[in-house]
């Protein structure tokens, strides 16, 4: 088991390494370099030379990669072009904002998804299921820019209950941010909950139809005890990975929602830095998003390993 975990860990590191290489090479083979694409028409003479000097573009590519990677490992992503500030300073507040948005969505969405999924499965084909499932399918099929826009239209413009778009500086404090995130969170949670609830529902139904549940019923196990002891642990195990992917998706920036609400998170930063041709930031974002995916999946694997008795052997239990 230890070996397995170690293997996954090493695989994760290798993935990150490959991602970093790909982003680096990608940026490298773009026509022109960071300076020409940033300075555009002013890319000549002194300005260009100064820029090249500052970014160290005069050394060969592999040396640049090594020193870049070395700095990244130390937590230093170098300088952004547009703001002329340290990338860390650019990223910090954005990560925090994305985290706030994601956590809020997770705290609301995941328990809700579990509860709804279980209810729909246990009352399969009855009224609660029919109603909840219809709503879920509805919110799954409407694209998020439409549901987000509708939310703004109804809640912010017609009812004027909440601010429609977020117009705050990037580095606001947590409490100032709070009222601003309500609408984005609702928009995200709707889709996420719907997806996950459907997943949980089919997983629970599948377990309910299994031989061991029929056996538990025939053994005389009372209904709710059966649900909690025999059904849920087995039905929710496969859900862990889906939850992990959802969390990674949330943290990586929900681009569309952030853009619609003008929310200063990672997702919008991706768009901004691409349109500004701020290649160092794009590079940094690539590696950060990849790390988020890799580490969350790693945690999910760990959890599954720990919870699934099939993957445990007698020795490791003792």
């Amino acid at each position: 088991m230890f070996f397995l975990i170690f293997k996954r860990f090493v695989l994760g590191l290798i993935t990150l390494f490959i991602v970093s290489l790909i982003t680096f090479i990608g940026v490298e083979i773009l026509p022109g370099d960071a300076c020409t694409s940033y300075l555009e028409r002013e890319a000549f003479g002194e300005a260009l030379a100064a820029c090249i000097k500052r970014l160290g573009l005069d050394v060969p590519a592999h040396e640049r990669y090594i020193s870049w990677a070395y700095n990244v490992i130390q937590g230093d992503f170098g300088y952004s072009l547009s703001g002329q500030m340290q990338i860390n300073e650019v990223l910090g507040p954005r990560i925090k904002n994305s985290l706030v948005l994601a956590s809020a969505a997770i705290i609301i969405g995941i328990p809700l998804a579990l509860i709804l999924g279980i209810i729909t499965a246990l009352w399969r084909d009855k009224m609660p299921d029919i109603i909840i499932s219809t709503v879920a399918i509805f919110s799954m099929t409407i694209p998020e820019f439409i549901s987000a826009t509708l939310l703004i239209l109804i809640v912010a413009i017609w009812l004027e209950w909440l601010p429609g778009i977020v117009i705050v500086p990037t580095d606001v404090t947590f409490f100032e941010l709070l009222p601003n995130i309500i609408l984005p969170v609702i928009a995200i949670a709707m889709i996420m909950t719907a997806h996950m609830a459907r997943m949980v529902r089919s997983s629970v139904i599948q377990v309910m139809a299994s031989d061991y549940i029929q056996m538990a019923i025939l053994k005389g196990v009372p209904y709710w005890k059966m649900v909690f002891k025999h059904v849920l642990p087995n039905a929710l195990l496969p859900a862990i990975n889906v939850v992990a992917l959802t969390i990674a998706w949330l943290l990586g920036g929900v681009v569309v929602t952030e853009v619609v609400f003008n929310y200063p998170g990672l997702g919008r930063l991706v768009i901004e830095s691409i349109s500004n041709r701020d290649l160092p930031v794009v590079q940094a974002l690539g590696i950060i998003l990849a790390s988020i995916y890799v580490s969350i999946n790693f945690i999910a694997d760990l959890l599954t390993l720990m919870l699934n008795p099939r993957l445990k052997t007698l020795q490791t239990r003792k």
């Binding site: 061991y212 029929q214 005389g220 002891k229 025999h230 099939r310």
Partner: protein, 674 residues
């Protein structure tokens, strides 16, 4: 005093079809289960056995509902009780042992917990007493070291052990009635024999009434006092086990018994034409009319009633049962094999070893073989043209592995496979030329998985014809029609999809597909295991007729020793991927010399209550073959100490042309066994 523990009166269960019609799957079931008695329910797949057994616990599956009748347990109608009242009865008064214990134990809960749960629900024991009782129960079902077992998860037990745990769990509540749904199906022969023995002992010790549901008349013969035979949702025959199995007076039971291959008879069993009607498709007369050899005009229009014959304590649903009484004493099978075996060797397996162990990247790079204990080792078999050779052994003995490597789906680690005396067969499918591929065809166990559900029969059969012979147009059509005729199906089947075929028909299509390539060798991997006995007999018959006509060579893999006896000329017995014995089937079956062959053949259940299996070895399951010594040392009842543990046994040739691998002299073995 009422001696019946359960009384079922006129029970009907059905479902609503998509068109809204009501379709019944159990019709007018009336029967009683007496106290202390073991009753067997037999019937083909889909005859409603499980539905009936579940109804006996007041459980109706999602989608089904009762349309009439009652199911009285001690005069209380289970079908009218609410969930709360049922929870009180289930497990405590009536317990169930499921078909597949591996799937019927909750995977995330330890064995001990699951038994304790039953105890908590059904007894007033305190914690200490419960723990004591768990040990007792595990002991009662003969599981080794109960305290360790209790801490295990279901997946950490073998199939036989899981089944024992299920029995222990059912016994926890001290039930008065025990329902068993195919409790030994899917277990190895030896394991099956042991579990049945255990059930019999428990019935004797505790006096519990049992209802034993199975399609396997061999198992029924061993444990039951009385037998109920079901066909298409009805009871067609019911009576004492000896009467039913030895003098069946219903045409269906008569035919069924004749279609079972038996160790005591040679040659192929008689087959029964047709197949059981689907629910909703039952005509106005007797449900067996289409397949019956004894039918009269009356049968077509009138439904026979279940008639009780008091002189033989038997109920039968047939107008013409009296005609059978005289017939049942005949017992002869003359369908002996007429294989034309030539002296030409067609396939030669020399020192073949096969390993599933995955090589590490580095070893692969260095081309280094690391597995010193491969799954299959030292296989030497040569097969002559026209012969049927069978590979037998329990699950995990490497039968399918060997077939796969002949087919080119698995690489051999050592040794070689030669085809037609000189051609070396590559272990890599991609390296085989089209001629090699054509000559060797494979038929799989489960036609559902091997036939593409989106292709019509015509498309399925045209693939090999196009690929190997480049047939097109009308030539292709006639070839397909010929193939269908060969497997006794009409040309109108061409436009059908696999889902529109019955199990037996699907397997016929699979056979036709294999023959389409006009192969020299056909590899049959458990081809009849998924079929009902009556259908199995027909498929075996078909395979035999085809080979007699075309001279094809078969390599036939099956876990069913009686089937193997019926169809094979020679048999190779495997244990843990190592050969134990190889020789002419007649002799191997009559005088099994190797200790493992003896154990295996001894455990076969015959559909005759007077023939008991001989249990000579424990049914422990070994994960891996031993590194050195005899492969069978772990279970051998005749083991002679260190020699068996340390030295690979030599081949010995017996005087019947059989060869065995054992340290004990073959003559000596003969004396010991008699």
């Amino acid at each position: 005093m009422n001696t019946n523990i359960q009384e079922i009166k006129d029970l009907c269960i059905g479902f609503k079809s998509q068109k809204g019609e009501q379709i019944s799957i159990l019709r007018n079931i009336t029967t009683n289960i007496r106290k202390g008695e073991t009753v067997g329910i037999v019937g083909e797949s889909g005859s409603g056995k499980s539905t009936l057994a579940l109804a006996m616990m007041g459980y109706i599956k999602h989608g089904l509902f009762t349309t009439g009748g009652e199911c009285l347990f001690k005069s209380k109608d289970l079908l009218s009780l609410n969930n709360k009242e049922l929870e009180d009865i289930r497990g405590r008064k009536i317990a169930m042992i499921p078909q597949n214990a591996g799937q019927a134990l909750t995977p995330n809960l330890k064995i001990g917990y699951q038994i304790e749960e039953a105890l908590k629900l059904h007894t007033d024991f305190n914690k200490v007493e419960r723990e004591k009782k768990i040990s007792e129960l595990l002991n009662q079902v003969r599981l080794p070291s109960p305290s360790i077992m209790a801490l295990r998860y279901p997946h950490e037990l073998s199939g036989g052990q899981q089944q024992r745990v299920a029995v222990a769990m059912a016994l926890a509540g001290n039930p008065e009635l025990l329902l068993l749904d195919e409790p030994t199906t899917g277990l190895d022969v030896t394991t099956q024999a042991h579990v049945l023995e255990l059930l019999k002992d428990i019935a004797k010790e505790t006096g519990t009434s049992m209802v034993y549901v199975s399609h396997d008349l061999g198992a029924i013969a061993q444990v039951c006092d009385r037998v109920i035979v079901m066909y298409a949702g009805e009871i067609v025959l019911e009576g004492p086990v000896r009467k039913i199995l030895k003098e069946p007076i219903h045409p269906y039971t008569y035919g069924l018994l004749k279609s079972i291959p038996k160790l005591s008879l040679s040659g192929l069993p008689d087959s029964m034409p047709g197949s059981q009607p689907q629910p909703g498709n039952i005509g106005s007369g007797c449900s067996f009319y289409d397949r019956c050899n004894f039918s009269s005009d009356e049968c077509k229009v009138k439904v026979p009633e279940l008639e009780y014959l008091s002189d033989i304590d038997t109920s039968v649903r047939c107008f013409n049962h009296s005609e059978l009484i005289s017939k049942t004493s005949e017992q002869k099978i003359t369908n002996d094999l007429k294989n034309k075996i030539t002296i030409d060797e067609i396939l030669d397996l020399k020192d073949v070893s096969i390993s599933y162990a995955k090589q590490g990247i580095i070893d692969q790079f260095l081309n280094k073989v690391t597995d010193t204990n491969p799954t299959v080792k030292d296989i030497n078999i040569n097969i002559n043209k026209g012969e049927t050779i069978a590979l037998v052994g329990e699950s995990g003995s490497g039968k399918s592995t060997i077939l796969k490597s002949i087919a080119g789906l698995l690489k051999t680690k050592d040794g070689y496979i030669k085809f037609d005396k000189e051609k070396l067969l590559s272990g890599d499918l991609k390296k085989r030329n089209s001629e090699d591929l054509r000559s060797i065809q494979l038929i799989f166990q489960n036609p559902d998985e091997s036939l593409n559900p989106n292709h019509t029969v015509e498309q399925i059969l045209s693939q090999p014809l196009k690929l190997y012979f480049g047939l097109t147009g009308s030539k292709l059509k006639t070839s397909i029609a010929e193939l269908l005729e060969k497997v006794r199906l009409g040309a109108f089947y061409m436009s059908r999809y696999p889902r529109q075929l019955s199990g037996g028909e699907k397997q016929r299509i699979a056979v036709a597909r294999a023959f389409a390539a006009r192969p020299d060798i056909i590899l049959c991997d458990e081809v009849t295991s998924a079929l009902d006995v009556s259908v199995q007999a027909a498929v075996l018959d078909l395979l035999q007729k085809l080979k007699e006509e075309l001279g094809t060579t078969y390599v036939f893999v099956s876990h069913d020793l009686a089937v193997v006896k019926a169809i094979s000329d020679r048999v190779a017995v495997l244990y843990q991927g190592r050969l134990c014995e190889i020789g002419p089937s007649k002799d191997v079956y009559q005088f099994p010399s190797h200790p493992y062959t003896e154990v295996l053949i001894g455990a076969v259940l015959e559909p005759d209550p007077d023939i008991r299996p001989k249990l000579v070895a424990e049914d422990i399951v070994e994960e891996k073959p031993p590194e050195i010594g005899c492969s069978f040392q772990g279970r051998c009842p005749r083991i002679i100490g260190d020699k068996c543990r340390n030295e690979t046994p030599p081949w010995q040739i017996g005087d019947n042309g059989n060869a065995i691998r054992c340290h004990i002299n073959i003559e000596e073995l003969k004396i010991q066994q008699s």
